[in-house]
Amino acid sequence: MREENYLYFANAGGNDTDKDMAMFPASTFRGAVTMSSTTTEFFFAPQDGTGTTANGVLLTHSDIASGSSETATMVIGDNNQHKLVMEEFAQLASGNRKNTTNFTVIRDLNTVPANEGAISATGISDVSAVAITID
C-alpha cells in the first residue's frame, strides 16, 4: 500500500482555539481555487465523514501582481502568486519525494524551535495567513 503523506496547516494562534491547526492526508485533497487576488483555498474531503461539504484551508498570499519571496527558481515565473502557491503546495504534497518524512508542513505561522527537522519547518513562506474551515 502506498505510504500516505500528511499535510499540516496552522495559523498564528498557537494551537489554542478551535481550528488553529489541521492535518489532512494528502489523498483527501480535492483541489484548489483562487478566491481573490490575494487568497487561494485548498479543499479536502470533509473530516466529518459525510463526504459532502469539503473542508477548506484559505491561504493568504501577496497580490497576484507582486513578486515572490521564495528564492527558488520557479518554472511558472514570479508574477503569479496563485500558481506559485499551488505549485509549492503540489511539490510538498507529492508522495513521490524521496528521503523525506510523511509529515509535511504546508504552512505554520507560529514560532517554531530551531534544528528539529519537520517540527522546525514553517512551509510556504509566500503564505501570510491561514484560515481553516472544518464543519
Binding site: M1, E3, E4, Y6, Y8, A10, G13, G14, N15, D16, T17, D18, K19, D20, M21, A22, M23, F24, P25, T28, F44, A45, P46, Q47, D48, G49, T50, G51, N55, T101, N102, F103, D108, N110, T111, V112, P113, A118, I119, I132, I134
Partner: protein
C-alpha cells in the same frame, strides 16, 4: 457447505489503536483516517471513517501538552501520529498510538484519550 463472506482487504496496511478505558477503544486502518484538527488549547480531534455504516465519522478526542504557547507540542504529536501511521519497524503494522488505560503513548506530549465516539 458454508460460504465464506467476502471481507474488504487492508493487506499490508497499518492499523492504529487508541484506548480511552476498558469500554472505549478504537482500532482502524490508516486509510480510514480523515484528518485531525486542533479543538482548543491542548485538545485535538482525530477523525476516522465510521465503522458502523453510518456517514458520521468516528471522533477521538485527545489531550496534548500546551505549555510553550506556540502550539509546538501539538505539532510534535501530529508528527508522531503521522509517523505511527506509516508503521514502525519494530512494532510492525499494528501501532498503539495512545493507551490511557495503560498510560502508554507514542509521544510524551500526548497525555490522554478523552473520548471515542
Amino acid at each position: 457447505m458454508a460460504i465464506q463472506m467476502a471481507v474488504p482487504s487492508h493487506g499490508g496496511e497499518t492499523f492504529v489503536t487508541l484506548i480511552k478505558d476498558a469500554n472505549e477503544k478504537f482500532c482502524g486502518p490508516t486509510s480510514n483516517f480523515l484528518g485531525l484538527k486542533c479543538d482548543g488549547a491542548g485538545s485535538m480531534k482525530l477523525r476516522f471513517e465510521d465503522i458502523d455504516g453510518t456517514a458520521a465519522a468516528t471522533v477521538i478526542d485527545v489531550t496534548t501538552t500546551d505549555t510553550v504557547g506556540t502550539g509546538v507540542e501539538m505539532k510534535r504529536v501530529c508528527q508522531a501520529i503521522a509517523g505511527a501511521m506509516a508503521g514502525y519497524g519494530v512494532q510492525g503494522k499494528f501501532v498503539k498510538v495512545a493507551d490511557t488505560l495503560a498510560g502508554t503513548y507514542i509521544h510524551p506530549d500526548l497525555l490522554s484519550v478523552d473520548a471515542v465516539a
